[in-house]
Symmetry: C2
Subunit: 243 residues, 2 copies
């Protein structure tokens, strides 16, 4: 029942399988996809953004700029994620969204969404659940920034990312490809890029994991999990249903 080539369906499918009609709506979104180049600003903070996006391939980041030029990355988006859902309900978004790599995405207007809500209420519920998980991730990031030190933050973040990528088939228990720079990590974890570098070096020297040349390789994933107290239940609820 699940179309393998549709990551959005993959992300939503754990919440129940879809009827033909619902599948058709999902595929309709899927076929409207376009290509956006790396560095393209999809949503600008403070500006009206009448449409959202479904991301099918590539990476994007949502962030907020500080008056002093600093940047706080709220989240990274990967294959199958919804972008800018918030900006559909409010007039303006409170953060910007920019593609990190070239991406394939389809634009979804507010009207698309509202009509979907009307004709396929179960899809609406699925969306709500996806949004809920979105918030769960934000909560975990909050905990990281508030109560974990730099190495714990890094470990937790990289493990979480791996779990999310595994849901859409882009990671194994060995590791995953990751186009993020150390600056990206720094801005997401509330650290300086210099310190990110040191933490990654320590991880390498202690045989925990290697992040190099755009690839994350686990060396001792269980030690990592223990070290930062990673509990994947908020993500694996999904995976358990998939496999």
């Amino acid at each position: 029942m699940i179309e393998q080539g549709n990551p959005l369906a993959l992300q939503l499918s754990p919440y129940g399988s879809f009827s033909n009609r619902e599948q058709a709506v999902l595929d309709q979104f899927h076929h409207k996809q376009r290509i956006f180049p790396k560095g393209k600003e999809l949503v600008h903070e403070g500006q009206a953004a009448p449409s959202a996006y479904i991301l099918y391939e590539g990476w994007a980041s949502s962030f907020k700029l500080m008056p002093d030029g600093g940047r706080q990355i709220i989240d990274f988006s990967i294959s199958g994620d919804f972008l800018g859902l918030r900006s559909v309900f409010f007039r303006t978004s409170n953060h910007s969204i920019v593609s990190i790599t070239d991406i394939k995405a389809s634009q979804v207007t507010a009207d698309d969404l509202y009509s979907t809500f009307g004709s396929c209420p179960r899809l609406a519920t699925s969306l709500l659940r996806a949004a809920s998980m979105d918030k769960a991730i934000a909560v975990e990031r909050l905990v990281s920034l508030g109560r974990r030190n730099a190495p714990e933050r890094m470990a937790h973040f990289l493990l979480e990312l791996g779990e999310r990528l595994m849901v859409v088939g882009l990671a194994t228990e060995k590791g995953y490809d990751c186009p993020l720079s150390q600056f990206h990590l720094a801005d997401a974890l509330g650290l300086s890029a210099v310190h990110v570098n040191r933490v990654l070096r320590d991880f390498r020297e202690e045989g925990l994991l290697t992040f190099r040349a755009g690839r994350v390789v686990y060396h001792d994933i269980e030690k990592l999990v223990r070290f930062c107290g990673f509990d994947n239940s908020y993500i694996s609820q999904i995976r358990r249903l998939l496999t």
Copy 2:
């Protein structure tokens, strides 16, 4: 059209006025309210929580406990807020919710919600919007923890709280009553209680604001706003429509 005595209606009303029928549904929730004592655990992390709550009076906090005994407060809930919406869609919640004061709240079951969605789709949309704003607040907290120092965090937090309280008529431009201890502030802002104390002392000595004996009094609110770069647009969208 707005019933003055129903804070939930007050919080949702900015998104459009309600029909009689919708108002009736809201009032139905309103009349099921019960009293819970201070310190009551409404939702326990990791446990099934089949129902959510609508808070009508008093304060609550949602938080996550760390393995080392530390605590990260995710958010405080005030009059009119929805509690544990997440735990309705997932089997388990990823954080606990405990009342800080005695509270009046009504329990809302998952079935209540689903049937509301069916009969009053505009209420469903209102809820989605409320949840969206919830996330906006989480995002602001993320930015605070990631990129602001202690005094900026404090100022931003107290201003945001004031704006939220003003929406439900519990704050003026002079200040507001606030039952939070310095430990609460510390656990929300990712600081130690000792440092919270020092920051508040500095605010007092510099004539910015006074937080004492359960009351926050602004002395120079504009300087505060400038100091931490507070932008209330994500909350005031609501207030502007109310007044």
